[in-house]
């Protein structure tokens, strides 16, 4: 386990925000971080469900040893008009010099309507909301994060929770695939522009979460077969294991900024 004092990424005085922290991978990441964030750190968790966030906080506090400050911010990334207030809350009270590290993990994400093929996506409002939640919010929040933690005094890390869907066209997943493809490319541009920022797109693999259960019950046989095959190969991970792998990658700090890495090393792009 990383010693808080040695870790450059999670050491003392680390600000860390995790979106979608109310369940699934977001919760696992938060709990794994709890054991590693050093003294004087702050963990901000966002999500739509206050109840979910509170449960995550409970698990985090059980695990943390440095009286970690945990802040909860409820909000819906679908609503762009709510961003200024939401982002203000996430990044509030950051005093200059208070933090040595700043880390943001864009984990919140939605699948979109998996019953629809691309040819059936005729409602522009639904599509606009989809890209607001999965793309626009991520960009605007990253911009705000970079603004609040500007300059070279703070070591900055930005993580994009991505998916193999970013590079593999999957039936019924035109929105999910395109949103992830867009995010990956966006973060590659960020990495080009800001060489001082550590940028990582991480494919966590198929995880045993509510999101996966939704995918598996979408009614498409091809999709069902694919996940059944993965299950029989032992490829469906616990989110805790995937979260641990992510934090190991961040701690080892060997990745090329902007890289897209997979939990199973199925690709490294």
């Amino acid at each position: 386990m990383a010693s808080a004092g040695l870790s450059g990424v999670f050491g003392p005085a680390t600000f860390c925000a995790v979106t979608g922290g109310s369940r699934g991978l977001g919760r696992s990441i938060a709990v794994q971080l709890a054991g590693r964030l050093g003294e004087g750190s702050r963990l901000v968790l966002t999500g739509r469900s206050l109840q979910g966030l509170q449960e995550t906080k409970r698990q985090v506090e059980e695990k943390s040893r440095n009286q970690l400050e945990v802040k909860l911010v409820t909000g819906d990334m679908e609503d762009t008009t709510a961003y200024p207030a939401l982002f203000f809350d996430i990044l509030a009270d950051v005093q200059p010099g208070a933090f040595k590290n700043a880390l943001i993990i864009h984990n919140a994400g939605t699948l979109g309507d998996l019953r629809k093929k691309a040819a059936e996506h005729s409602d522009a409002e639904i599509l606009n909301k989809y890209y607001a939640t999965n793309l626009t919010s991520v960009i605007a929040l990253t911009a705000k994060f970079m603004q609040v933690f500007s300059g070279s005094a703070v070591r900055r890390t930005v993580v994009n929770i991505s998916s193999a869907a970013a590079i593999e066209p999957l039936v019924h997943n035109s929105l999910y695939c395109s949103g992830k493809a867009a995010r990956n490319m966006f973060f590659k541009v960020l990495a080009e522009e800001e060489p001082d920022v550590r940028v990582l797109s991480y494919s966590p693999g198929p995880l045993d979460t509510e999101m996966l259960r939704t995918v598996r019950s979408c009614g498409d046989k091809q999709v069902e077969d694919r996940f059944n095959a993965m299950e029989s190969k032992g490829m469906i991970l616990s989110p805790d294991d995937s979260a641990k792998h992510l934090l190991t990658l961040l701690e080892q700090d060997k990745f090329k900024s902007g890289a897209f890495l997979d939990v199973f090393d199925r690709f490294s792009l």
């Binding site: 599509l127 606009n128 793309l135 605007a140 911009a143 603004q147 999957l170 867009a182 080009e192």
Partner: protein
């Protein structure tokens, strides 16, 4: 993989074709209209759409109307509330059975604010508008197009005008790069889901157009600007007519793998 249309005597373009080109008021869109008008079969209809009605009318004047009737419909893809009316205008007066081929070319596109680095993209409303214009519009227009021309008697072709920016990160181009990446992926999924539809993403290369000129003079990153200026100075910019001809050639040959991303100069194929 979709099997190519059995060409026999008439290439797919030579059939009576209903063809929509977005962003047809200038640049590549205009060139595509002109090139296609010379290739489309007797009884074809070309529907041109863009924001600028005067630009569309100029394109209309240049188009070869021997075999093709031309209709212009102005509208703004940034305004998704107006899509219903815009699509109605595009797809009006279609008598069933008249067209044997339907071709939709998503050419309209915007660069976004290329003066800005990621850290400066703080206005969510601006970002939303960007993805509405460049991604959402193409999905909903495609859905409507495929609804209007169901598969039975009509061959359908959908073209996504893209860019190497879809897979090459370029500084101050976070919006353009991510938008193209999203589009390319949407069309790959479409190709997987609908094997009876011919789907092609086509990268026309850097061309001598107003869009390029705007890009060259406004791009925020000095290295990128130098590169673009050099392209222009060295005479390496393609003429939009050239890129349009390349696309028409590819469509006529009709042997591309559905969902592929092809380059005008053959520099890559995804």
């Amino acid at each position: 993989m979709a099997s190519p249309e059995s060409a026999q005597n008439t290439s797919v373009l030579g059939k009576p074709t209903f063809c929509v080109i977005t962003g047809a008021s200038r640049g590549l869109g205009r060139s595509l209209a002109v090139e296609l008008s010379g290739s489309l079969g007797e009884g074809s209809r070309l529907v041109l759409t863009a924001r600028s009605l005067s630009g569309l009318e100029q394109t209309q004047a240049l188009v070869n109307k021997t075999s093709v009737s031309v209709k212009v419909v102005s509208g703004d893809l940034e305004d998704s509330d107006s899509y219903h009316n815009l699509f109605q205008g595009i797809f009006s007066d279609i008598t069933p059975g008249v067209f044997q081929h339907a071709l939709l070319i998503h050419n309209a596109s915007s660069l976004g604010d290329v003066t800005k680095r990621v850290v400066e993209h703080r206005d969510a409303v601006v970002l939303q508008k960007y993805y509405t214009t460049n991604v959402t519009s193409t999905i909903t227009l495609t859905a409507r197009f495929l609804q209007i021309f169901p598969s039975c008697d009509v061959t359908r072709t959908v073209v996504n005008i893209t860019s190497s920016a879809g897979f090459t990160p370029i500084k101050t181009n976070s919006l353009y790069c991510s938008g193209k990446a999203a589009r390319d992926m949407v069309f790959k999924v479409l190709a997987e889901e609908s094997p009876e539809v011919r789907v092609l993403s086509f990268s026309p290369g850097a061309m001598d157009t107003e869009m390029f000129e705007y890009y060259r003079t406004h791009v925020g990153d000095p290295e990128v600007r130098t590169l673009l200026c050099r392209l222009a100075e060295d005479g390496k910019l393609l003429k939009p007519e050239f890129s349009a001809q390349k696309l028409v050639q590819i469509l006529e040959e009709n042997s591309y793998k559905s969902g592929a991303v092809l380059d005008a100069l053959g520099r890559f194929e995804h």
